[in-house]
Amino acid sequence: MAQAPEIDPATGTPTTGHEWDGIRELNTPLPRWWLWLFYITIVWAIGYWVVYPSWPLVSSYSRGVFGWQSRDAVVEDLRQLKETRGPLMDKLAAASLQEIVADPQLLDFARAVGKPAFAENCAPCHGAGGGGARGYPNLNDDDWLWGGKLDDIAFTIRHGVRSGSEDARESAMPAFGRDGILKSDEIYNVVGYVRSLNNLATPRANIEAGKKVFAENCAVCHGEAAKGNRELGAPNLTDSIWLYGSSVPTLTETITNSRNGVMPTWAGRLDDVTLKALAVYVYTLGGGER
């Protein structure tokens, strides 16, 4: 509790008059230079207000005489990054995809450029490591809808799938059920047949009947042996890798309503070098085909 300041008999220093459980605080004065530093910080703060953006105004803020903006700082950082990367970026721009993969230094650099670009643009659908999700293909495996060669991957990234772009990967699976092409028992039987190709049992389905339905309706795109057709983006139905799932209800829904997933076109959104780096990055995730 506060009391009148007194002189501490032990040290001869005045106390602050504050006391806690008999412990009193000495009022030792600060050195003079310390006090100066305190005043200097006040002056500094005023200078800071003048120089840098600081005070909120009604619909804006005080901009400061330096005109400093955090956005300018980012722009400057990006410019420096571009300058640092310059020579390698030029090499990347000049080289073909095959040349990039063959040159260890360019390959490392392309992967380093591709990785953050993938995280920013592709990961929301395909997952952080390209592991895929339901309806979004896993990019690490060797099962490709539109082809896993370097140029195939680069083309898909550039133009997208059913994106509306002129050169986009284009195909449409009919909605066999919704449009009345197949009856429900025919759909059930063809589901049973497709499942049987992957050693999955479907009790009560007539596999033979399903095989006939498949040959008449599905084999056009998916092939006689159901191995798929990359020209049309028709998946291989025999490799136990499923884009949407292999359960009876899921396959029934796929055949009834069709799927026709969409991937945006990236040409025009990302620059050419980044697109190249992305193609190399996806190619080197593990599934790339020579």
């Binding site: 050195p31 230079w33 390209g130 995730l285 599934g287």
Partner: protein, 518 residues
């Protein structure tokens, strides 16, 4: 240690500003403190406490003697090392810098003669810090503030700056007299010379600092031709300013107000630690030469202290050592030199002020022999800790691996099922080559019976051999794929081992990881 003997009377003795801050071993029989050499200019009003304490300017007087010689020697050696070490060369081959001590931020390497440390080995610094701290404790247990008095950069540079001040503005008396006089051309010239010399030394100090971070001869040339990076000039500027301010202007204020060590030191000391001590058992009662001589002839008690104030005049922090050990005393021993020279002139034995302990003063007062215990449990434990940490560091340095491998398993996806039913895992592998030559490592995987190993970008494909070239003193990151064709148990997690072998020397390094399945 002596708390039970402390009485309120002792407090009267302690009226000096320095004494207020701290008193370690004030004894009831200790002499009354003499008033400060220069009286405090801001007397405290009864009812109002001043906002600040004005600094009492200190004019340390030149002194000669053993401890002064030791201090000069330490100054020459430590500053010599600091200023010249960057120019010492050490051959490490054509691919590495040839500077003996170099902190290379660009390539993130620290070179110290035969030692090279990578950023991930920065734990060596932990060992160094432990050794440094315990060495400080050991110094303190043996002979008080050896660090403060002789080795601390603040002390060494202040000592140098004080010497320059005496050289330009004269010794204590002359300097005091001139400071009281009005400004004259002579006085201004002297002061200007002093500040110029101070700034030159400060500038050289900053200049030497940056040389530890780049090739010294090249940087010196670049600095001179204004081609050095801005950061180099900025750091030279910063260190010039701090040296000039701290050694020229702040001096003892750094020790009194800024440095934490005096506070810690006080908690670490014990009754056997030697400290610069005024032997008041011999010195008191103090008096003038004549008065004490008369007392002695009458057979009355008379001390050896003649109150000449030489001990205070030479003190770089303005302390009166006769008030007992205190926070302001950095224990540089200069008062010992000053007192010894006076005692010699008076024909009295030396050592009225000496490295001694409060305990020994007591023992002598009670007619016992003084006891010195340099080797005692405290110093043995400190020495043992230093030896143990040093031995561990030496062992790790000697057995330092020159090749390394770090493996990170893919997190998304954990595993990939291929069209033919095989399971594949992806790994990011970093291979470390800590030698200064390019090396080729062969990568192998073991622990899984049927597997294929592939490295992205490796033309050898799955067939192998998987040889990876890593540049001198570099790391290389690769992506490896391991495929298992055999059926796996559900939720499999099989331990496997990646091994690299230097194809030339056969040096190996390994890292364990897991193979995951559905």
């Amino acid at each position: 240690m002596l708390e039970q003997q402390l009485t309120p009377e002792r407090n009267k003795a302690c009226s000096d500003a320095n004494c207020k801050l701290f008193d370690l071993a004030q004894h009831p029989n200790a002499p009354a403190m003499i008033p400060p050499a220069v009286p405090d200019e801001t007397p405290e009003p009864e009812d109002e406490v001043p906002l600040y304490a004005a600094r009492r300017k200190i004019y340390p007087q030149a002194v000669t003697g053993t401890f002064r010689r030791i201090k000069w020697a330490v100054l020459v050696v430590t500053l010599g090392i600091y200023y010249l070490l960057p120019f010492v060369r050490w051959d490490r081959g054509p691919t590495a810098p040839d500077q003996a001590v170099l902190i290379d931020f660009t390539t993130r390497r620290f070179y110290f003669f035969f030692i090279e440390i990578w950023p991930q080995e920065v734990y060596y610094v932990t060992g160094l810090l432990i050794i440094a701290a315990v060495t400080l404790f050991l110094m303190n247990a043996v002979a008080g503030r050896i660090w403060c008095g002789y080795l601390c950069p603040q002390t060494v540079w202040t000592d140098l700056f004080c010497a320059i001040e005496r050289f330009t503005e004269g010794d204590r008396r002359e300097h005091l007299r001139r400071d009281r006089e009005p400004m004259s051309l002579n006085k201004a010239a002297r002061k200007a010379t002093k500040h110029f010399l101070w700034l030159m030394i400060a500038w050289w100090t900053g200049g030497a600092w940056v040389l530890y971070f780049a090739d010294a001869p090249t940087l010196v040339k670049d600095l001179a031709t204004l081609q050095a990076p801005f950061a180099a000039y900025a750091w030279i500027g910063i260190l010039t300013a701090t040296t000039y301010l701290l050694a020229g202007h702040m001096r003892e204020q750094v020790c009194l107000y800024m440095c934490p060590w005096p506070r810690i030191q006080a908690a670490l000391t014990d009754e056997y630690a030697l400290n610069v001590t005024y032997r008041y058992d011999r010195g008191e009662p103090r008096g003038s030469v004549k008065k004490n001589e008369q007392l002695r002839q009458k057979g009355l008690p008379a001390g050896d202290c003649v109150d000449c104030l030489q001990c205070v005049n030479v003190c770089p922090t303005g302390v009166d050592i006769r008030g007992g050990a205190n926070l302001g005393c950095i224990q540089c021993g200069l008062c010992i030199d000053a007192c010894d020279s006076i005692m010699t002139k008076l024909g009295r034995p030396k050592g009225l002020i000496a490295y001694d302990t409060e305990l020994n003063i007591h023992r002598r007062q009670h007619g016992e022999k003084p006891s010195f215990h340099i080797v005692r449990p405290r110093t043995i434990v400190y020495a043992a800790i230093i030896a143990a940490v040093g031995a561990i560091m030496l062992y790790t340095l000697v057995t330092r691996e020159v090749a390394g491998i770090n493996v990170i398993h893919d997190r998304n996806p954990m595993f990939v099922r291929l069209a033919d039913g095989a399971i594949r895992n992806g790994y990011t592998i970093r291979i470390l080559n800590k030698t200064n030559e390019q090396r080729t490592f062969r990568l192998e995987v073991s622990g899984i019976t049927v597997s294929a190993l592939e490295i992205i970008g490796d033309p050898a494909g799955a067939a192998g051999p998987h040889e990876i070239v890593v540049g001198p003193d570099q790391t290389r990151e690769i992506r490896a794929l391991v495929t298992v064709y055999q059926p796996l148990p559900p939720d499999a997690s099989i331990p496997l081992m990646f091994t690299i072998t230097d194809t030339h020397s056969g040096v190996r390094a390994a890292s364990a990881d897991q193979f995951r399945g559905p």
